[in-house]
Amino acid sequence: MLETLKTGLRDLAEEPRRIAPRRLATRATPEKVRDAIRAVQSLGCRRLSAISAVDMGETIDVIYHTCAPGGILVSIRVPAPRKDPKVPTVTDIMPAASLYEREIHDLFGVVFVGHPDPRRLMLHEGWPEGQYPLRKDWKPAATEGEKHA
């Protein structure tokens, strides 16, 4: 699988590496992520298992985990600059991405450009705009405890 990925992703992403048994990882830029996802899809990764995000400080990394045959997980890591985190959506290529992208937008503030339905998913409707709780610099605001009778 590693060899297939290396040829399939030649110009689209960094050289894939094996990081653990049945775990392959690579990196792509936000501009190339759609082509990279299309490429792995045509190589047999038809199912998108999840999308994770990590606050790395300078960047917020969005990681797409796709399932390849043989129980292999292929993870494509896309760093988005923290100041203006924008990544094109892949919902039209892999419909399963829709909810995961909405979740990451809620919790990390990454904008998935072109998402057909970018409403809030995880946080409730009273949550203040522009507060992204899973970023490392986010701290819960001090609340004044309500006095109970």
């Binding site: 990081i19 049945r22 199912r47 298992s49 990681i63 892999m94 909810l99 995880m122």
Partner: protein, 393 residues
Amino acid sequence: MPEVELQIGPQHPALKEPVNFKVVVDGEKIVRIDLDISYNHRGIEKAAEGRDFNKSMYLLERICGICSHAHTTVFSKGIETLMNIEPPPRGKWIRTLVAELERIHSHLLWLGVAGHEIGYNTLFMYTWRDRETVQNILELISGNRVNYGMNAIGGVRRDLSDPMRQKVLEGLRMLAKQADYYLDVVPREETLIVRTRGVGRLSTDQAITLGAVGPTARGSNVPFDVRRDDPYLAYGDIPFDVITSNACDVFGRVEVRVKELIQSIQMCIHMVENLPPGEIAMKPPRTAPAGEYVSRLEAPRGELMYFLRTRGTDKVDRVNVRTPTLANWPSVVAAIQGHVIADIPVVVAAIDPCLSCTSRMTIVDVDRGQRPSMSWDELVEHGIQYYREQEGL
């Protein structure tokens, strides 16, 4: 006829977490369904970043009451991989045993709920009675009926003594008999056939592209099971098959779960009889080196996935939890389209969602702006009545 929007949820006592569905209907027919799952974000991922591995285990165990063991297993498996350690064989087997017992209890619970939603309460009474047996076994092994607290980084916290093994085997043999009875009776029961055959259709292709997992995917003939595809713990050493059904509807999901129930019981008997001797746990290092790992396993509801990142400390830098229910929502939305209101309870229940709603459902009549209410019980009753009149049951 004008389109009408039905609100279902966010509260409902039969399911375990709150969710809200906005169902747009044309007469009885469902045109589309929209989903709001924002009622229960508890910030567990953020909270885990501030706790060491041992404390995180207790926190993560409480993500779900039904598959609590799955959450700690996937977390400890990930942390152990990052620490580059492996629990001793007996520890692994006991972990696997509890995981399969948990699957038995979850599937029995689900069969009961599904039976109840379609007015087949006999099944509900039977399966929930048998579920007591597996809960007693779990209590015997772990001391708890839910949130077993069995896992620790590096192994498990309790051993099985020989007299205990005999008792567990007795319970499992009784369950095996009951499960065979369900396989014999359930697929032939008319109520079940009418209410599930052709209901909630999800083609194989749809199941793959929408990212369905677990019995939802296998009921649509997708042979995807993490236990076989990406073996972990003792699954490489225990004989079992991946069960699929080509029915591609709610019936297929029932069939897969009943057969998995039988298989899990056989796996448990095999594990209790062949439990390897030795230690049950090893002492893990306090910290994990910097690294990232995607840990996954087959929970009762499907593939459960944790993305873990460590930075050489005794805490995780990031833990991202992707539960099977989140992966299965798009399938519900797709499977329910074109069906009638009467089918909502069973199609939603068919993915075994981990959520809860009260008995409240509001029907919004767009033209007149009225909001008559309908409880979930009334909705279930409506479904039963609808099929009684349609099919003469």
